[in-house]
Symmetry: C2
Subunit: 118 residues, 2 copies
């Protein structure tokens, strides 16, 4: 993976990587919300919500439409945001491998062993 690409992707993931921002994204996934809606739900200050929304906006994960004095925030990359949130909420069992398993994998994969089962 190219270092520049890796950097860019890490920056994107960093925008997700905060409890409050995950909660904001999860809430916005249900529908458009303005800042005061979020104040009612999240145990943090308005200023702090605004700051986190700025981070999310810079990462192009959310955007807003102005409605008078209100700002209607929405998720601007639904498949990305939904994909990440869904992955996080799914169960992912931790696997373990022994040296022997690894050796067998190494022996099998390089030549795509045709003999076993095929």
């Amino acid at each position: 993976m190219d270092p520049d690409v890796a950097y860019e992707r890490a920056e994107l993931l960093k925008a997700f990587s905060h409890p409050t921002r995950l909660q904001i994204l999860d809430e916005l996934r249900k529908g458009t919300r303005c800042v005061t809606d979020m104040e009612d739900i999240l145990p943090v200050t308005q200023v702090n919500i605004s700051q986190h929304l700025t981070v999310l906006r810079n990462a192009r994960l959310v955007d807003f439409a102005q409605d008078g004095a209100l700002r209607c925030y929405y998720v601007s990359r639904p498949k990305l945001v939904g994909g990440v949130l869904d992955l996080l909420s799914a169960g992912h069992p931790v696997i373990r491998k022994t040296k022997e398993q690894i050796d067998r994998e190494k022996a099998g994969s390089p030549k795509e062993k045709v003999s076993s089962r095929g």
Copy 2:
């Protein structure tokens, strides 16, 4: 989303959120690697790779099997790691909404309007 759950998920995402760690995960996805293999590929010191591997191990994203003096590292939650890396490499167009679109969505969704097309 429960704040404790949000915290836990943010911690998990933080383990992904570093260029070097993404590169390590991408490399390990191709197969088991020891630390010196990674030294050859990544433009960082052995110490630094070790430190990043510790972060990944604490997050239960990787583990290793000892082979003499070598440590064979592998991805221990392949679906999670693969899912995140695949999402990142896919193209995710940024959508925009106007206030009018949002108003229409709000009007349609609450009652799951049956009249249009059905």
